[in-house]
Structures are given as C-alpha cells and as structure tokens.
C-alpha cells in the first residue's frame, strides 16, 4: 500500500480493523465486514451478500477518486 502510493498510485485499504489501518498509515480506508470475511457475510442470504460486496466495492472506487488532505475513513 505504502509502496504503491509512493509511486503515485492512489490506494484504498479495505480493512475490518480500522485502527490498525490508521496506525500503519493508510490514507483511504474503507471499513469492511469482519476479519474472517472482510468482503462479505456468509451468514446472510446470497442476494444480500452480493449487495454487501457491491456496496463495499463501490465505496472503495469512490474513495479512490476522492480528493483528500488527510487520513480519511469512508464509512457508511
């Protein structure tokens, strides 16, 4: 993540434990579902889970394009 940003590629960290993301210095942070399943929720019906995945991905794409001045969390 840091190396990607160093060469000028904006990077989004999709991460469950946001404080760790902040500590390690991510600039664009999208909070995810849970550590064993960051991008989905196996307890939900498939349709609902697909919606969760789509929401997280769109949020990440939005974060990638945002103009930011400091570490920013792109929550719900």
């Amino acid at each position: 993540m840091k190396e990607l940003e160093r060469v000028g590629l904006p990077t989004v960290h999709v991460c469950t434990i946001v404080p760790i993301s902040q500590t390690v210095g991510a600039n664009r942070i999208v909070p995810s579902v849970a550590i064993p399943h960051p991008l989905g929720d196996p307890t939900k019906p498939l349709e609902e889970e697909k919606a969760i995945r789509r929401r997280l991905l769109l949020k990440a794409l939005e974060a990638l394009q945002a103009d930011i001045e400091e570490q920013t969390i792109f929550g719900n």
Partner: protein, 429 residues
C-alpha cells in the same frame, strides 16, 4: 471468597497397575485412562504416553496443557460447564492440585496452530512444560468428524483426564497449602482503602474458527465483559479451546496458574488493594472491539480503580483490543500496564504490534516470537512430527531428514506466553 489450594507435589510419573499417587510419584494405568475416554465416539483411538523432564522426547502437535485439579471441599467442581456442574460457582473451599504434573493433549486439529514441547535440549529451555511430568493424550479422530467437533472432543478429554488424575490423590496429604482470599469489594478495611486500587483486565482469545476460550462453558466471544473472582480462575472457570500460535496461546494450565493473579495477590494489602478481574474478549468485528473495550473500561470505572494490568492472548488484530482497552482506560484517568509479546521479525527490527498508541506507555514484553531456534533430533517423538513444516513458525524444510527442526520460536508451546508464564526474563535498570 476464600480458597485453599492443596498442592500435592509430583516428582515422577510411571506406568502402574492402578492410577494412584504414592510418594510423590503419579502412577498411570493406561486402561483406566483409555476407558475414561472410550465412550466418546468422536475418536478413532486415543493413545496414552508419558514424558518426563530431561527425556529425549518431543511432543508434537500440542493442543492444550492442563494441570490436574479437583475440588475437595466447596461448591461445584473444577472446569465448571465441562466437568463441574454450573449450579453454583467455584472458587471457594478447597481444591487439590497435582503440581509438577500435567496432561498434554496432542492432535492434528489445525495442523499449523499446534505446538512443540521438547523435554530436553535447547527447545526445553523455552517451554514451561518441559519441567512437568506429562501424561500425553494423542488423539486420532474418526475420519468423518468435523474439526470443531474434534476440537471439542480433545478439549473435554483433556479436562476429564486432568480431573480424574487429581481425584486419585484425594487421600494424599498436601506438600503445601496456599490460601487465596479476597474481601468483598465494598467491605474492605480502612488500611486497604488507603492503598492504590488495582484491577486486572484479562483478555480472552475469542476470534472463532477454533480460536476460542470458554468461561463456565460459555464461548467467550458471546460474553459482554464481566467480573470474575480470581479464585474462580484457579478452579478452571476459564478453559482454553484455542488453536492459535503455540508460543502465545494461554493453555488451560496457564489460566489455572495465572501468574498475574498470583502476583497481584502477593502484593494485596502490602502495595496495592487488588480489586478483582475483568474478563473481556477479542472478537473479529470492529463493532465488537469498540463495544467490549468501552464496556471493560466502564466496569473499571464503576470499580473506581486507580490502575489496571492488561494481558492479551495471541497477536495481530487482538493488538487493537489491547490498545483500545489501554487508551480508553488511560483517557478515563486509569493507569495501565500492558503485557504482550512481540512479532518484531527475525532480527527484532520490525514493528512489534499491529497497533499502537502514545497512551501505551508502560509495556512488559514477554519476548519476540520470530527468532529461529534449532531443535536437535530426539530419540522419541510422541504425536505426529510430519506437521512441523506447516506449523506456525515453521517453514518448508523445517523438519530435517535427521529429525532435527529449525523453526521460529512461535512454534514452541508457551515460549512467549502473554500472562508471563515463561522461562526466561531480562530487565534493564
């Protein structure tokens, strides 16, 4: 609450015609142990073996270690929710402990998250369980068994045998009796009230996927932080169901002998007023981490403590629970000391914890889990050594043709135990 711990010292372990304790020797009758576990149809078979300090024996892969204990007076029995009933609570009366003996459970549950115990050689220096006389249970599960069921079966089998062994010493007079008594929090003497009030925040591994701890039989991931009397811990109210890295797993044995609680008791009435223990968990969502750290610190504030000691279990995301507990307590005006291990790389130069905060300004490190240790071949291996290559801390080629092993310290059971139940220490002055 008042608990007498009757310690029967075990200096040796031998096979015998009957399971008994005589002249500090624990005699094991293999059939008795086997028949105790034969009713559990989750096992294909259970082998019983013995390992003594100093022998050229390696035990791998180790799941849990348990000290044989049973109640001899007072409500309930040890390991409530598993062995003892949950009608009533433990922590009062008299408990018998076979000190110097341990039950070691051994099975390939996760493969990569069980550990190594060497009874001699350089590896033995790193694990406290090279100094105990071990009854080793090696489990082969039924082929179709699901892993969570296998873990549960191994967990209960270890507790059953530990309890059974202790009951065999009920007629033996103890070598030592330790007394643990803590007055009711609101009814303490003026002298005690003058001392700094200290509580212990006791973090329990609860990530799920076989990283679990049980309190009175309840899965700790489902609890809100709560109070527990230190004596309940000595009676096995907290049981390990964990398959985390071996070095910083809190084995049931370590819970039963929690050195932080021992140390707080020792200073109670002298340097501090030991208020009690708050247990909390290490769950896998940010919401749970926020809720449970807030709730933990709220309990500490309700108790009006001046300071807390916080211990962690495992590493990685639980570092965030540790830091959240610390930060919220410090911001509430409660001083904190943290006990944790480090994953600072083989050269010790990397960031030690996954999370950090300026409020974490008093930390006791129990060691770096990443340095490489070389373990020479042993004459006998109890268990399944083919798992060494994939054990956490191992790598392809860890197990050499001659039976020697090259692994990170994290593969050794209890090497960097975060309750401080470790063999080495160093201090700077």
């Amino acid at each position: 609450m008042r608990l007498e711990l009757h310690k029967v010292k075990i200096n040796d372990i031998k096979w015998g015609n009957t399971t008994k304790v005589e002249d500090k020797v624990l005699y094991i009758n293999q059939e008795e142990i086997s028949s105790l576990l034969s009713k559990d149809d989750r096992f294909e078979c259970v082998e019983v073996d013995l390992a003594r300090p100093g022998e050229k024996v390696r035990i791998v892969p180790v799941k849990d270690v348990i000290e044989p204990r049973c109640k001899i007076e007072g409500e309930g029995d040890v390991f409530p929710g598993f062995i003892g009933d949950v009608e009533g609570t433990v922590g009062e009366g008299k408990t018998l402990a076979l000190t110097g003996a341990a039950v070691v459970t051994c099975g390939k549950i996760m493969g990569f998250q069980e550990g190594i115990i060497d009874m001699s050689g350089p590896g033995a220096d790193y694990t406290p369980f090279s100094k105990t006389n071990n009854v080793v249970l090696v489990f082969t599960p039924r082929a179709d068994i699901e892993r969570h069921d296998y873990e549960a079966a191994c967990r209960v089998a270890g507790l059953k045998v530990a309890h059974f062994l202790a009951t065999k010493a009920k007629d033996v007079s103890p070598d030592e009796v330790s007394l643990y008594e803590l007055e009711e929090i609101t009814k303490r003497s003026k002298e005690l009230e003058k001392l700094p009030k200290v509580a212990y925040i006791y973090m329990l591994q609860s990530q799920g996927l076989l990283h679990d701890t049980y309190v009175y039989g309840v899965d700790a991931k489902k609890i809100l932080p709560t109070l527990i009397h230190p004596n309940e811990v000595f009676d096995g109210a907290i049981v390990s169901g964990n398959c985390v890295s071996a070095c910083d797993k809190n084995s049931t044995y370590v819970h039963q002998n929690n050195p932080v609680i021992e140390a707080l008791y020792k200073r109670h009435g002298e340097e501090i007023n030991f208020i009690g223990c708050i247990i909390t968990n290490e769950n896998v969502t940010l919401e749970d981490k926020k809720r449970n750290s807030s709730y933990t610190v709220k309990l500490a504030r309700m108790l009006g403590v001046d300071g807390v000691i916080i211990t962690e279990e495992g590493f990685g995301n639980p570092d965030t629970d540790l830091i959240m507990n610390c930060k919220k307590a410090e911001l509430a005006g409660i001083k904190t000391v943290l006990i944790t291990d480090e994953y600072a790389g083989r050269d010790g130069a990397s960031q030690s914890l996954a999370d950090a905060s300026p409020e974490a300004n008093a930390v006791v490190s129990v060691g770096n889990a990443n340095p490489i240790v070389k373990l020479p071949p042993m004459e006998r291996v109890i268990g399944f050594s083919e798992y060494v290559d994939i054990i956490a801390g191992g790598f392809s080629g860890s197990l050499k043709d001659d039976g020697s092993i090259e692994v990170e310290l994290q593969a050794i059971t209890g090497a960097t135990n975060e309750l401080g139940f470790t063999c080495f220490s160093a201090e700077t002055r």
